[in-house]
Amino acid sequence: MRAVLETIGLTKFFGMVRAAEDLSLSFQEGELVGIVGPNGSGKTTLLNVITGYVKPDRGRIRYQGKDITGLSPRAVADLGIARSFQMPQLYLSLTVLENLVLALAIRAGRAREFWAPLVRADRLDEARRVLEQFDLEEHATHEAGQLPEGARKLLDVALSFARRPRILLMDEPTSGVSARDKSKVMDTLVPVLKGTGVTTIFVEHDMEVVQRYAERVLAFDEGKVVAAGSPDAVLADPAVRRALLGQP
């Protein structure tokens, strides 16, 4: 089966820091992959490069067989790859509903309309459905800037999800979230993602989260993959334990 997303020999250096070194990865449609690794191992860089925020020094990225290296984030988003952020990137002064409705309007290519109203019945309906899926209905008319942390994270993912992407990249979806809310966030997210068949790649620091939810795990260190496989296998791997937990 052809991979929906592949990177070939991806390399990115920031000065002396090796963020990515000859990374050749491949992702299948619909799978749920976790990426772990110590800070600075290149996890976020991978997401940045795939989505076009940063240009790689070498290597290529292929999406559905098409070369997308060097495209802008906007172009990449249009093609169907969406991304959520380590620090939620929301429109803080707009309400949760407005955030989503805007995402829907932009998805429909209507960003430049200036006469018709943004808020329409059909968009509102779809937005409400997304809110339901993400368990955010109670916040519908609240300003995004006033949401509690867990809700912000969920909204951040919801905004990316509203684009109905083929691939969703999530950068630390549970970081900064209290321990109790972590499972709440993931228990809400994962069923939605699996249910819609979106290929999900998420970067995570929390090993438990990864162990519980990921189908496949990639372990990074200094820009290279040091282990890959099922969560249990990877987390038991001595090289991984050394890099992540400092254990011999």
């Binding site: 940045n48 925020y53 952020f85 380590q86 620090m87 990137q89």
Partner: protein, 277 residues
């Protein structure tokens, strides 16, 4: 003067629209002192007076503005910060009118005293040479202070990371005040020493900030060397324009600025600030 502007921006991250008024205050104060106390018997005194005026203005207005006003908007959005300095500009404009009236002030003795210098068979006024000398010396001093002295190093650490510096025990608010005051002194210096060259009227503060911004934009915000280069370019452009197309001198300045910014939006020596996600 532009060095002061870019310096202030570099440290405090606020572009002080009222900087031109500090210049004007320096000019008026200087002119007033010279007219009041300068005497032909002891010409050097008038230069001292100009210097005094500049320092006085800088050292009084600077901290007042910084502590009373700027301090309250440090964390806020840029628009609010700019508006704040704009309102200070408005206030100072009228302060000048109230203090010194509307009729022009002209203290030309320091200028005429420098007489005429003969270079390559052409007569040049001597005063501009003095000005250039002072400007160069000041610029160098500033650069030296920033790069060589301990104060300079502390300054740079504050610019780079305010929080860390604070955690390390640096009295950040005091540094901000000092830096701003230094910028103010520079502005007033520019004003005081240019004052003898022309007749002072209310409104020079505003005129000057517009050109000064062009200089700073060309050189890159926060770069002192850039400001120097920018000033040079602007000065040359203006002189050329005045010589060839007198109507277009202002236009020439903005043309250069537009061209530079078109190809290098952050100015010649400015730094691009990337956003981290």
């Amino acid at each position: 003067m532009s060095a002061g502007l870019t310096f202030t921006y570099g440290v405090v991250r606020i572009l002080n629209l009222a900087h031109g008024n500090l210049y004007a205050l320096g000019a008026y104060m200087g002119a007033w002192l010279v007219l009041g106390w300068g005497s032909s018997a002891w010409p050097a005194l008038s230069y001292l007076l100009l210097l005094l005026a500049a320092v006085f203005i800088g050292v009084t207005a600077g901290p007042v503005i910084e502590r009373l006003f700027l301090r309250r908007v440090y964390g806020k959005e840029e628009e609010i910060q700019i508006l704040l300095t704009f309102s200070i500009l408005l206030i100072l404009e009228d302060v000048i009118k109230l203090a010194w009236g509307v009729s022009p002030l002209f203290a030309d003795k320091p200028y005429t005293y420098m007489g005429v210098v003969r270079l390559g068979g052409v007569d040049y006024a001597g005063y501009p040479f003095l000005l250039t000398g002072i400007a160069t010396v000041t610029g160098l001093l500033l650069w030296l202070v920033v790069t060589r002295t301990r104060f300079g190093k502390v300054l740079i650490s504050v610019i780079t990371d305010r929080e860390v510096s604070s955690a390390l025990g640096v009295n950040v608010p005091r540094i901000y005040t000092l830096a701003f005051t230094l910028g103010a002194v520079l502005a007033a210096l520019g004003g005081a020493f240019t004052a003898p060259m022309f007749s002072l009227v209310p409104g020079i503060g505003a005129e000057v900030i517009v050109v000064s911004f062009a200089v700073v934009a060309i050189g890159g915000l926060g770069s002192i060397g850039g400001a120097a280069l920018g000033a040079l370019l602007v000065g040359l452009a203006r002189a050329t324009a005045v010589h060839l197309f007198p109507e277009l001198d202002l236009f020439a300045i903005y043309l250069i600025m537009a061209l530079v910014l078109l190809f290098r939006p952050q100015g010649l020596f400015g730094q691009v600030e990337a956003r981290r996600i």
